[in-house]
């Protein structure tokens, strides 16, 4: 049955249904409903909720809980996610699974509290130090966010990587009808033979670490990480093609801008302009092949990327399109949101 839920609350419930039993967070707008909901719900399912003294503490609690084998999660918004970067890098280095939600607001600095997409680089290129990536999703509806986070802990466990959900203030605040999936049974989750569960368990000592002094050892670890990322790129890429079959103009956008762009495609089609939408759902690994496929098509004239930033994802779009077609960009910042009409206007000015 579908229920009406706020994005933040639906995401929190879906995380619990997906097996999350440890949540550590620190308040920041516009994601406060996630920790609020968790504080009420975690005790009901026998889980742990801690409002930590800072974002740095929260991410390190995730590090600890994940190391002990728990399905652990934290959420925050842009400035708070910046504070977590050191911990995220350590978690990646130690190959621990966890889920991190970023309900992005506009920046830089404290910025504002309205929606933004300026954290794309931070999420997909590595916001912390060192060579690492995270499996990163940019859901565009509450339902999509729910479905992604429901399986996010399985994905994190499978690859032993953090999963990052890159939302924005709008996705967190919006209410929509959602189908919340049934509770997963933690007894069915695969055993974590590497987890530090206490003295006397297992055959060997288990150590969680991200320090490798010997260059060859560290290189081996780094290679292992990137082998995993390669597998992720083969198996986990998700993107939505909307009316791209006969499209001459490929609009591209992710997250909430992705759904706004869908409205724009509908309007443009009504006016006889052959527009389509390519919407990445995984931001890392990036759906390169989808872009390449479209870029090779003769009838495709151009790509037009829309973001709530000065142009971040567009760099990956351009790398994928590889100069085969012109790739234009339109962005708004400061918390201003692109409307379907803005997109229609921008596209029409190129068509005429």
């Amino acid at each position: 049955m579908k229920v009406l839920m706020k994005g933040n609350e639906a995401i929190a419930e879906a995380a619990i249904r997906g097996g999350c039993r440890a949540f550590f967070g620190y308040p920041i707008t516009p994601q406060n409903e996630i920790p609020e909901y968790m504080s009420c719900r975690m005790p009901q399912v026998g889980g742990v909720f801690i409002q930590s003294e800072s974002e740095v503490a929260a991410i390190n609690m995730v590090y600890g809980a994940a190391g002990a084998g728990a399905r652990a999660m934290t959420s925050s918004s842009s400035p708070g996610i910046s504070l977590k970067q050191e911990g995220i890098s350590y978690i990646c280095g130690a190959e621990l699974p966890c889920v991190i939600v970023n309900m992005v607001r506009c920046g830089p600095g404290l910025g504002g509290i309205q929606p933004g997409q300026g954290d794309y680089f931070q999420a997909v290129k590595g916001g912390g130090h060192g060579d690492y990536r995270m499996l990163t999703y940019g859901p565009s509806t509450v339902q999509e966010a729910v479905d992604i986070i429901y399986d996010a802990f399985d994905k994190a466990d499978e690859y032993r990587v953090p999963v990052m959900i890159l939302g924005d203030g709008m996705l967190g605040q919006i209410m929509e009808a959602v189908e919340i999936p049934p509770m997963k049974d933690p007894a069915t989750f695969p055993k974590k033979e590497w987890a530090t569960t206490g003295k006397g368990y297992g055959d060997t000592r288990r150590i969680i670490n991200s320090l490798y002094i010997k260059p060859d050892e560290l290189e081996e670890v780094t290679n292992r990480l990137f082998d995993k990322y390669k597998i992720m790129a083969e198996r986990e890429v998700m993107a939505e093609n909307y009316m791209t079959d006969d499209a001459e103009i490929i609009i591209t956008a992710y997250g909430t801008v992705g759904r706004i762009a869908k409205s724009a495609v509908n309007i443009l089609r009504e006016e006889g302009i052959k527009a389509g939408l390519l919407r990445p759902i995984t931001l890392y690994p990036f759906p390169e092949k989808e872009y390449k496929k479209l870029a090779q098509r003769k009838d495709v004239k151009m790509f037009y990327c829309f973001e709530l930033s000065m142009g971040q994802m567009v760099e990956d779009v351009r790398l994928s399109v590889d100069g085969k077609k012109p790739t234009l960009f339109y962005g708004r910042t400061g918390g201003n949101v692109i409307s379907p009409e803005d997109i229609v206007k921008a596209v029409k000015s190129e068509v005429k």
Partner: protein, 180 residues
């Protein structure tokens, strides 16, 4: 069918919850809906608004550039949003608090003394439900029965306030019947 509504007023006038009532009604009628609040460092007495999109199909954009209907619970809201309403659209004005008229000639303006009718219903806090009554009577988007069910469901933990709200709904419906 796709109906876009902006509801705006002072914080505390029940602007956001009015939008939620519409969203709950939409779910009840198996329609697709998005409810998007303006969120910010706003407080009681500040301004507040929400955007509700109700559709037969999945709602693509929750952002409303030009609404089919504006419910203006106070004067700043009317001034701010009047120009955005689409051609031939509807504005419901809270004439208890707004002493100006809709400027545009192409719009269907309804002046409803929301606060006075809410007082008549027994509680000034039901002004948003009066507006809801007026809205469903004008738009014919939901039946009175649907909204009554939503009110009963949403106030199930505060049963004392249900009669005021049902009365407010009734008064809202009647108010625009007269003016038509």
């Amino acid at each position: 069918m796709e109906e876009k509504i902006i509801i705006a007023g002072f914080g505390g006038q029940g602007v956001l919850s009015l939008g939620q009532f519409l969203a709950y009604a939409a779910i009840r009628d198996k329609k697709e809906v998005t409810w998007l609040p303006s969120y910010g460092p706003e407080m009681r007495g500040g301004t507040s608004n929400c955007s509700v999109v109700i559709s037969d199909k999945q709602v693509a954009s929750p952002i409303i550039e030009s609404p089919d209907c504006l419910i203006a619970m106070n004067k700043p809201s009317l001034i701010k949003f009047e120009e955005k309403v689409k051609n031939g659209g509807t504005i419901i004005v809270n004439s208890s608090l707004v002493d100006i008229k809709v400027q545009r000639q192409d719009l269907n303006a309804y002046y409803v003394p929301l606060n006075d009718l809410a007082n008549q219903a027994g509680n000034v806090r039901t002004a948003n439900i009066v507006a809801l009554g007026a809205y469903i009577q004008i738009s014919k988007l939901f039946t009175k029965e649907t909204i009554e069910e939503v009110i009963k469901e949403q106030f199930s933990k505060k049963p004392k306030v249900i009669p005021y709200n049902l009365k407010a709904l009734e008064l809202g419906i009647e108010a625009v019947k007269v003016s038509v």
